[in-house]
């Protein structure tokens, strides 16, 4: 129960942050050249000033900026994100449609980066300054410097164009109607390359942190005790070192959630995945500012949620945190 109160308190503390972000971005978007009505008129192929004025009145765009902001925040309380004139649907439903691929992609990349980062970090720390460590650390540095979109393109060239093992893009095969397990496998095969692409830089970060944290914990007294009582090395690492060395890794998930969401904008564009990131890009290009603001809201919400979950995991891994709270 105490974990929940503690994490809940931090969750409550993030509400002002959320409001601050919304007000800031809302005011920022007022400086944008052209509004939704301009975009609509352009799509309709132009129109006269009277129609534009009527449309602005209909969407409440003729009010003063503070009044518009008040309206927006009040609608947000009722979970109404406004209307996207480009997609002809409420913004909330546009975003909801695009959310699953992004969440799937992020979860897959995070798991990939976390698992292999942990594995390689442990291997590197065990053989510190010998060839496995040098190899893994060098690869980590190179992965960190690789632009994700470029890696994605090169992966498409190798695995989709030359080897033809994996599809070059899309979320699923639209041509064939698949159900059940076949559909799952189809989606999975479409997500292999995007997952690797998005996860690569995080793999580099995780393995580095894991290596450093392993090296630190391996030198602590209690590890020497564990060795002294005759445990073999594997036991020492899995039972004693890992649990403590994991803490910085878990912290990192929370810190990197936003970066990962940002990275998915690029990766989804490379692999034409119909996700939230691609929607963000499209709404910038199409000047669909209502949708853009909605995406800002949802991505901030997503980051806050991830941090909430991380708090819970953290308290489970390290009981001392609860005792202090």
């Amino acid at each position: 129960m105490r974990i929940l109160t503690l994490a809940g308190r931090r969750l409550a503390a993030s509400i002002p942050t959320l409001v601050l972000i919304l007000i800031g971005v809302f005011l920022l978007l007022q400086f944008a050249p052209g509004d939704t009505v301009d975009a609509m008129m352009a799509q309709m192929g132009g129109g006269d000033a009277a129609t534009a004025k009527e449309l602005r009145k209909f969407y409440g765009l003729d009010l003063s900026i503070p009044a518009q902001l008040g309206n927006y925040l009040w609608r947000l309380v009722r979970l109404d994100l406004g209307f996207s004139s480009i997609y002809g649907k409420p913004v909330a439903s546009v975003i909801l449609e695009r959310l699953p691929p992004t969440i799937l992609l992020m979860t897959a990349s995070l798991s990939f980066a976390f698992f292999f980062g942990l594995l390689f970090g442990v291997i590197a720390a065990r053989g510190v300054n010998r060839w496995p460590d040098t190899l893994i650390s060098t690869l980590g540095l190179i992965f960190y410097a690789t632009p994700s979109f470029w890696f994605g393109l090169m992966a498409i060239v190798v695995f989709s164009v030359y080897l033809q093992w994996l599809p070059p893009g899309g979320f699923e095969d639209i041509g064939a109607v698949r159900t059940g397990i076949w559909r799952v496998l189809d989606i999975a095969s479409h997500l292999v390359l995007p997952t690797l692409t998005l996860g690569l830089i995080f793999l580099a970060i995780y393995l580095r942190i894991m290596r450093a944290s392993m090296l630190e914990v391996l030198n602590l007294d209690y590890v020497r005790t564990a060795r002294a009582k005759g445990l073999d090395e594997t036991r020492v690492v899995t039972r004693h070192v890992l649990r403590n060395a994991l803490l910085p890794m878990v912290t990192l998930i929370g810190l990197q959630a936003g970066t990962m969401l940002g990275g998915s904008v690029v990766v989804e564009s490379v692999f034409s995945l119909p996700g939230l990131g691609r929607l963000a890009y499209e709404s910038v290009v199409q000047r669909d500012l209502n949708t853009l603001l909605g995406i800002v809201f949802v991505s901030a919400l997503l980051v806050i949620t991830v941090n909430f979950v991380v708090d819970l995991i953290y308290a489970r891994l390290d009981p001392r945190i609860m005792a202090e709270g």
Binding site: S14, I142, F149, V157, V161, L215, G262, V265, V296
Partner: protein
């Protein structure tokens, strides 16, 4: 002097410095080696690398010299990376210094704002800024700087928190020094080294952010940037993959060089933390 010696003892740091010097040399010699506009038509489109001595790295889809664009691209990447980093570090130092020095409500307000910037994915904020202010070289550089300041701010704040009650600060206060004098004259010089080292991380990320933006065709299309070229090469990816491949390697090498130099500086300045 010790730090310099320690720096040159690490092979990785020396390799990073050499790579960085090569990239800088490319940026300096671009105008001399390729006096013509890198975005002007140079020859037949899609010439493969090493097949025509006139175009060592081949030409892109519209017949522009790739090698020239790589050389001029070094200028753009270093310029955007450097200026954006300077902006980010400057804002970060100001926010972090005031928050850490004054504490109380100033700290509260500034940290709330920092938190807001950190909660919003920085690439999404970058998209918003570009959507609002357009994508010229100046606006993109400022935008990249504006999304990158929270981490340096937190770092500066932490340094200030640990330094603000030290004896030399108290001595200054007894001498009747003003707050501003204490912040910028006394504490900041002591708080600066870790922030400067961290600048290499900011610069690496800034270069990657700009190239991603350029790849999405949301950066300045009128300059020869590596990201632009990769985006262009995407249209001919299936066969002429080299158009995208070459500038990507340039980005990789540059970011690698910057991180290696940063890592080397860090190890040289904090020898106790080596190997982390």
């Amino acid at each position: 002097m010790d730090a310099v010696k320690r720096y040159f003892r690490s092979p990785a740091a020396v390799a990073g410095l050499i790579l960085l010097l090569i990239v800088i040399a490319m940026a300096i010699t671009a105008g001399w080696l390729y006096p013509r506009d890198p975005l002007a038509l140079a020859g037949r489109p899609l010439v493969w690398p090493f097949s025509n001595p006139r175009f060592l790295l081949g030409t892109d889809n519209s017949g522009r010299d790739i090698a020239a664009q790589i050389f001029y691209g070094a200028r753009i990447s270093l310029l955007i990376g450097g200026v954006a980093t300077a902006i980010a570090i400057l804002i970060g130092i100001l926010v972090g210094a005031f928050a850490g020095y004054y504490g109380g409500w100033v700290d509260n307000v500034l940290m709330r704002i920092t938190e807001a910037f950190q909660t919003l994915p920085n690439f999404v904020l970058l998209l918003v800024l570009v959507a609002v202010f357009g994508s010229t070289l100046t606006t993109v550089t400022i935008a990249v700087g504006v999304v990158s300041w929270p981490a340096p701010a937190r770092l500066t704040r932490a340094e200030f928190l640990s330094l603000r009650n030290r004896e030399f600060v108290q001595a200054g206060r007894t001498l009747g020094m003003k707050n501003i004098q204490l912040i910028f004259g006394e504490i900041l010089p002591n708080a600066l080294p870790p922030v400067i080292v961290y600048a290499s991380v900011v610069m690496a990320v800034a270069i990657l952010l700009e190239s991603a933006l350029a790849f999405l065709r949301l950066s300045d299309p009128n300059v020869a940037s590596w990201g632009n070229l990769i985006g262009l090469g995407r249209d001919v990816l299936r066969v002429q993959w080299y158009v995208s491949a070459i500038p990507g390697i340039a980005i990789l090498v540059t970011v690698l060089a910057v991180s290696l130099v940063g890592q080397g500086l860090n190890d040289a300045l904090n020898p106790r933390l080596k190997g982390r």
